[in-house]
């Protein structure tokens, strides 16, 4: 995990900050840290940059590096991993038992939109996979995914009733590492209401986007309609 030098320092600084070892809210300067840790200044800078990008510290040239006071005061607010929390994480979050019910598993020709988004040809086909996701047997999300046959020709209803991402990673040694997501709110449709147990007044959160493989290949076009109480997306936003 922390085999990298800058990550080791990162973790250590994080721990020291949390243990309030810098009561003046000011970290030692970079050159001092360099000699304290016995590493080069670039490694220190790298660690500090990550801390800064996570909002844990902020730097001021000519002045020093300081602990974000809010980080100490109200740590629970800062419980994201990187700068974004993914879908899987947010579903995994609270230790509930996840379940999947396959609603539809079929093959259809790629629409125009899929062709551009998934980088396909006219004649290509895609799997259409509609699944209902449960947490502790409670339906929370309707997921409609489109995956090019070319990428995973051996997909089956059985595979699809588990985690497709895990299958890819275990059996084909391909990892899904990135996605472009668009997040919005919408009134619930009749179908939403039936499947997710919503009243007509209750909305769904919609997250739609593309998942990419390690090598940049677009892998899945996904549309997720979540029970509104289960969608909470946290982000660290930089205004530029």
């Amino acid at each position: 995990m922390a085999d990298l030098l800058y990550k080791t320092i990162l973790k250590d600084l994080e721990k020291r900050i949390f243990n309030n070892e810098f009561p003046a809210k000011k970290l030692p300067d970079e050159r001092t840290l360099t000699s304290q840790y016995g590493v080069s200044r670039s490694s220190i800078k790298r660690a500090l940059n990550v801390l800064a990008s996570e909002g844990i510290v902020f730097k001021k040239r000519g002045s020093g590096t300081f602990v974000n006071p809010l980080y100490l005061k109200n740590r629970s607010l800062f419980n994201y991993e990187g700068s974004n929390l993914g879908v899987t994480d947010s579903l995994r979050a609270d230790g509930k038992k996840p379940g999947i019910k396959v609603l539809d598993f079929s093959v259809i020709p790629a629409t125009k939109e899929m062709q551009t988004d998934l980088f396909l040809q006219e004649e290509d086909f895609v799997y259409q996979i509609r699944r209902l996701r449960l947490l502790d047997d409670q339906p929370v999300m309707i997921e409609t995914g489109y995956i090019p046959i070319r990428i995973a020709p051996e997909l089956s209803r059985t595979i699809v009733s588990g985690s497709i991402f895990n299958y890819l990673e275990d059996k084909k040694n391909q990892t899904v590492t990135k996605s472009f997501l668009s997040i919005e709110a919408q009134p619930s449709t009749k179908e939403d209401q039936e499947l997710l147990g919503l009243t007509p007044q209750e909305p769904v959160g919609v997250m739609s986007g593309i998942f990419f493989l390690d090598d940049g290949t677009p892998f899945e076009l996904s549309n997720m309609r979540l029970h509104y109480q289960y969608m909470k997306y946290n982000a660290l936003v930089e205004l530029k």
Copy 2:
């Protein structure tokens, strides 16, 4: 703008990628770029890292750096600035005329929650600012903000009917550069429906969080209830 070396290279590579100067989708290796641009490898790496973090290229150790084919094919999908698009941006986006109607401007004692979030003392007071935001005279968002008096003691109803962020930047030379936001969907309340012109079936998008000043001081606790058609949040998510 592009006075920094690595930024110049960044822009240039971006341009070359867009002009399809790398038809094999493969960029020259880092050492070649180093000599081509006549800069150090660290600058090249820095530029490439930004490109990679924006999803424009992806790197593979031992293999090379490649253009994300989707970036060329479907450029419109990638029209975000950094890795996240902020509120202001999304409201500014489509060239409509923004308007603000002040609903409430008062001073109240800080609640327990504000004390922790905004790093305040027991006896501190905050401005409570409720504003209705319009685009082309169409109401799109109800914004409730809490700002510590200590930070901006001279705030007035007049100032508040414009952009508070711009006021801070122009008059007090303080910039708001970061925020932690939580995004969710909720059924609309009676008030939402009246102010935003929604039916009871139509929801609101809720973005709530904290805005920070340049120096890390938490500046505003904000709760934004958006007409659901106006909330669209785009994010590049890294799954780890």
